[in-house]
Symmetry: C2
Subunit: 290 residues, 2 copies
C-alpha cells in the first residue's frame, strides 16, 4: 500500500462520493445514495469498515454533512477568510486516522451564510491552479454557492436556494402542473433568464400559470422557463461587475444552464471540473494535516 494513499469522502445529506486517492490522483471512485440521512445512529463506524473492505485499510478524510450536527461528529465552522491550512488545522478526529473537515461561515452584522463540503472544491480549484488566487466562483446546485477567493482564501460567499426552489415549485406549487418538459438551454430557458431582469420573481412565477391559462406558452416549455427565471435571477443578483469572470464548478446540464445565464447577464463563465477540484482540495488538506 502506498504511503500517500487515502480515502476521501464527500458525504452529503442524500448522496456520497468515495475516492481512493494515491499521490493526489483518484484511482477509484464510487457514488451512491448513502447520504447521512440513510445511515442510522451509530452506523458510521460500520460504514467505514465496509468502505475499507473495498478500498483498503487506509486513512480517511471526510467532508460535507458528515461533519454537521446531524452527521457523525460536529466539526463546526471556521470563519472567513478560510484557506486550506485553516481547514486542515480545524479537522476533528472521531477515530485515529479519520479526519472530518469543518464547514465555513461568514457573517455580516445580523446576516450570515454557511457552507459544508463546497469549500473543498472551491479551494481545491485554486490549489490545483485552475483558478487564480483572487477569483469569483460559482458552484450551482440545490443551494448554489457563489464565492470570492482572495489570496487563496475564501473571503466571502452567498448561498441561493435556486435548485431547492425549482423542486418546491415543481412538486408543490399551483404552477407545478405547468412545469412540464425537460429543462435545457433552449429558447424557453433563455426567455426565463430574460424575464428575470424585472427582479420580480413572485409575479413572474404566477405569470407561468396565467400564460398557460391564456395560451401564451406551450406547457412543455414551462419547466425550462421557470429554471431560466430562477437561474437568471440568481446570476443577476450575484454578478457584481459587467464582464465579470465566473469560474463555474458544475456538471453537464448545470454547466450549460449557468454558462448561458451568466453570458446573458453580461458575465463570462469558465468551466472547472468539480470532481477533480474535490480531489485536488482534499489532497491538499490532507497534506496540510501531516
Amino acid at each position: 500500500m502506498n504511503a500517500d494513499a487515502f480515502i476521501a469522502i464527500d458525504w452529503g445529506t442524500t448522496n456520497r462520493r468515495i475516492f481512493r486517492i494515491e499521490n493526489g490522483v483518484a484511482q477509484a471512485f464510487e457514488r451512491d445514495a448513502k447520504g447521512i440521512l440513510a445511515i442510522s445512529s451509530g452506523g458510521f463506524e460500520k460504514e467505514i469498515c465496509l468502505i475499507r473492505d473495498r478500498h483498503g485499510k487506509l486513512p480517511l478524510v471526510l467532508a460535507g454533512m458528515i461533519g454537521s450536527n446531524r452527521g457523525w461528529i460536529d466539526a463546526g465552522y471556521i470563519p472567513c477568510p478560510a484557506d486550506i491550512e485553516a481547514l486542515a488545522a480545524a479537522a476533528v478526529f472521531p477515530e485515529r486516522d479519520i479526519a472530518v473537515i469543518p464547514g465555513v461561515s461568514v457573517t455580516h452584522g445580523s446576516r450570515g451564510d454557511v457552507m459544508r463540503g463546497e469549500e473543498v472544491q472551491l479551494l481545491g480549484a485554486f490549489a490545483a491552479g485552475w483558478v487564480p488566487g483572487s477569483a469569483f466562483l460559482c458552484q450551482p446546485g440545490t443551494h448554489s454557492k457563489w464565492a470570492t477567493i482572495e489570496r487563496g482564501a475564501l473571503r466571502d460567499f452567498t448561498t441561493s436556494m435556486t435548485g431547492e426552489m425549482f423542486g418546491l415549485l415543481k412538486s408543490h406549487a399551483l404552477i407545478g402542473s405547468e412545469m412540464q418538459g425537460d429543462v435545457d438551454d433552449d429558447p424557453a430557458f433563455q426567455a426565463g433568464v430574460a424575464a428575470s431582469a424585472d427582479k420580480d420573481l413572485l409575479a413572474e412565477l404566477f405569470g407561468v400559470r396565467a400564460a398557460a391559462i391564456l395560451g401564451l406558452r406551450a406547457p412543455r416549455e414551462g419547466a425550462s422557463y421557470v429554471s431560466g427565471l430562477l437561474i437568471g435571477g440568481d446570476c443577476r443578483a450575484r454578478l457584481p461587475l459587467p464582464g465579470q469572470t465566473v469560474h463555474l464548478l458544475a456538471d453537464s446540464l448545470f454547466a450549460r444552464l449557468y454558462s448561458r445565464a451568466i453570458d446573458m447577464v453580461g458575465g463570462k463563465a469558465i468551466p472547472v471540473d468539480s470532481e477533480k477540484a474535490f480531489v485536488a482540495g482534499i489532497s491538499e488538506i490532507r497534506k496540510n494535516m501531516k
Copy 2:
C-alpha cells in the same frame, strides 16, 4: 320577499362566502370550506338548492373559481379595460336566475395575468365611492393582486404568489423548520421587509437557515421574518412612485402586515373593507344585468 333581494356567492377554490343581499346591504352571511374542490361533479345544483333552503328562493350571482374550467361553468375572462358593465354583460347562466361572472385578463406581448373573483371587490370599492375613479389597489392573499383602476375600469394588474410561497416554504422547504412563531407586525417582520431591499429573495431565504445555524436569529422570529421578506419584496416590486397611495382590501392581519410594508417602502396605505367591497361590487353588477 323583497324584489331587490338576491344571493351572492364568492365561491373560491377552497372556501366560499355566501351573502343574502337586500337593497345593496348584506342581511345574512355565511362562510364555509365548501370551495369548488369540495363539490363533486354535478354537485353544484344540489348545493344551490341547499343554499336556497337556508336563504330563500332568490336569484343568485356567483363570482370566483365557480366560473373557471374547474368550476360549475366556464365563464371565461374579459380583457382589460374591464368595468362593472362589461362584467355584467359577459355573465353566463347555467340556469335561469343564476348568473356566473367572468374573470378578467390582461396581456402584454407574451406575458399575461388573470384574476377571478377579485374583480368584484376591486370594482366594488370604486362603485361604493371608497376609492377614486383612478386608483391603485392591493388585495393580498394566496395570490396577491395589485390593480390599477382608470375611469372606473380595471386597466392593468399584476398577481404575485406571495401567500402561496409562504405556505410552500413553511410546509416543504428546508427553512420550514426555522419558520416558527406567529406572524405579526413585529420587529422580525420589519427586519424582513428591510432585508427585501436587496431584491435577492433566493439568497435571503437561505440566509434564514444560516442565521439559525449561526445563532443570529431566534427560531420564534423565523416565520415573521420570512413573511416580511416576501411581503416587502411584493410591495417594493409593485409601488411605482414614492408616496404612492395604495387602497388596501385586506382583513385584520393582512391589513396590518401590508400597511406596515407599504409604509416602510415609501407608500401610503388606505384600508378598504373587502367584504363590504364585494357586496357593493356584486350588487352593482346585478343592477347592470337587469
